[in-house]
Symmetry: C2
Subunit: 322 residues, 2 copies
């Protein structure tokens, strides 16, 4: 009997990663190419088709591809489209699912990238055995995916779990968000949010810091995390403030969902305990008493290279759900 | 064949209401007695047993009671206990389900009162045909119940949906909540919250108002709603501020759950459009663009006298789920 495999596609703003994944989460082949978010959508499809064809050639007759899962920004699980993705010039509603079905003639499922990550953690990662948890991805923005009663929570319109855009600062001088709102969580808790915090702190504090010689555009999550791990006072203070805000929000999200755990992923989570400990402390201080001491906050052990696992989990689920 | 019936018990801080309810939500018999939240728990059980026995006597041989549903403050759906209910002196973990099972030897299910209301709206009310909605009860406090993918969302510890205790004001001078936290939604959006707002406005504004001759303790939700309906400027301003805060939170909750609708219940919802219109306006202003124009806000048409319907729906679900 042939070994059944699923194709996971992690469609990112910069790179698209493709992986062939087994039922137990082994990645047996991968490809990576530039997404071309500013180029026309048909160009992307052409590149995708070429890479998919190359990847299929590496499989032998003992393998059988049975489904495709796609994680993409602003993907709508119900419509199969990417909708109004701010960093893409592919149109307002991009029919990813139907176009990928044309290329490979296999069942295709799509989800918001962070929602796919939540499924990946459930099937292959730290969410194994948990029926209620929330994944928070701390990258350029803040994404989230909710597993509730064992299932991905997608909501009435396929767009549940946009925690990056809950309000954490109702004051008039709250930070402006790309989405048009003010005071959104991701303007504070994300790589971009931390850069903003660090620039405020550079203006406010007098401590020496290597961060003073880096421009706003050049300041990556890795640089910030490395500075904090080296004891830089500005980076440490920035993590403290970020963790405080994140903890308050985790408490609010707990009051909605009563999860078993929050699982943090992405660039900022590399800082480990520097992020984790003050986040847990802030969450516990702000939790409604029904939840105190009951909710874990974890950092994912899934390497960023394995970004195709979430989409692959979605593919496997597509088969199970029929 | 006998007609199957369910018993709904609405266990409130002041009164306990019992009703015998048909599959389609007709209430065929009711009882009401003082809960005695400050008296010992065994006293309550004695009263409950007496009333249940009286109610059973009104049924004839064509009826068959098959299950019991209970809605109660701070009820934990998993443990079957009321846990740390602030206005009750019955102990930290009150085993309601097991004690009621002893009295009637029928399957018993319990849920937080607002969670039970959500099931009631789903089975008998405005939530019919909706798989994703959130009920918000605006009484002395603020309760909530979440229906997600057709099911009551109970979470990992049976305590999901405590929206009264999400933070809406992170500033140092936020209002203190009974729960020990500061800035909780229910300190602004509830009858108690509106009283606090009105007392601030009485201090701030110069307008004549009948509210100036009513003490804090005497100011009920009905009085506030009536004043607003009569055009009282202080009551109207209080509703405007309350609706603004509620709308911001509904937007945040939408970013978690992507519901089809919010359904408002309880004392304050009696104000109708005075509450509803500015709530919708505030929610829309604060919604992430993926949701704008898609989420309805409704006022329940279930009369308060029908508080047993939610618990009864829970009883019916208990039978269906086995």
């Amino acid at each position: 009997m042939k070994e059944q495999l699923v194709l996971g596609i992690d469609l990112g703003g910069t790179y698209t990663k493709i992986g062939v994944v087994t039922k137990d989460g082994s990645i047996i082949a991968t490809r990576k190419f530039k997404t071309g978010a500013k180029a026309p959508f048909p160009d992307f499809l052409k590149n995708l088709e070429r890479e998919l064809s190359g990847l299929k050639d590496t499989l032998d007759s003992s393998h059988e591809l049975i489904a495709i899962g796609i994680g993409a920004p602003n993907a709508n699980a119900n419509s199969g489209n990417m909708e109004q993705a701010p960093n893409f010039r592919w149109g307002d509603a991009v029919p990813i699912v139907s176009e990928v079905e044309k290329i490979l003639r296999l069942p295709v499922a799509i989800a918001n990238d962070a929602n796919a990550s939540a499924l990946g953690e459930q099937q292959f990662g730290m969410g194994k055995g948990m029926d209620n948890f929330v994944v928070i991805t701390l990258g350029t923005g803040l994404g989230s995916g909710i597993i509730s009663h064992g299932k991905l929570l997608t909501g009435a319109h396929g767009m549940a779990g946009e925690l990056g855009h809950v309000n954490v600062d109702p004051s008039p001088n709250a930070r402006q968000c790309n989405c048009g709102l003010k005071g959104c969580l991701e303007t504070y808790v994300s790589v971009t949010g931390m850069r903003r915090t660090i620039f405020e702190l550079i203006a406010e504090m007098r401590d020496d810091s290597p961060l003073r010689s880096i421009s706003f555009e050049e300041m990556t999550g890795e640089i910030i995390s490395d500075c904090a791990l080296n004891g830089d006072p500005i980076a440490l203070k920035a993590f403290e403030k970020t963790a405080e805000t994140l903890g308050v929000q985790l408490a609010d999200t707990a009051a909605h969902l009563d999860p078993e755990a929050f699982i943090l992923l992405g660039g900022l989570s590399k800082a480990g305990d520097i992020l984790l400990k003050p986040t847990i402390a802030s969450m516990e201080r702000n939790l409604f008493n029904a939840y105190t001491g009951k909710i874990r906050v974890l950092i994912s052990d899934t390497p960023g290279d394995n970004a195709v696992l979430g989409p692959a989990a979605l593919g496997w689920q597509r088969i199970t759900d029929g």
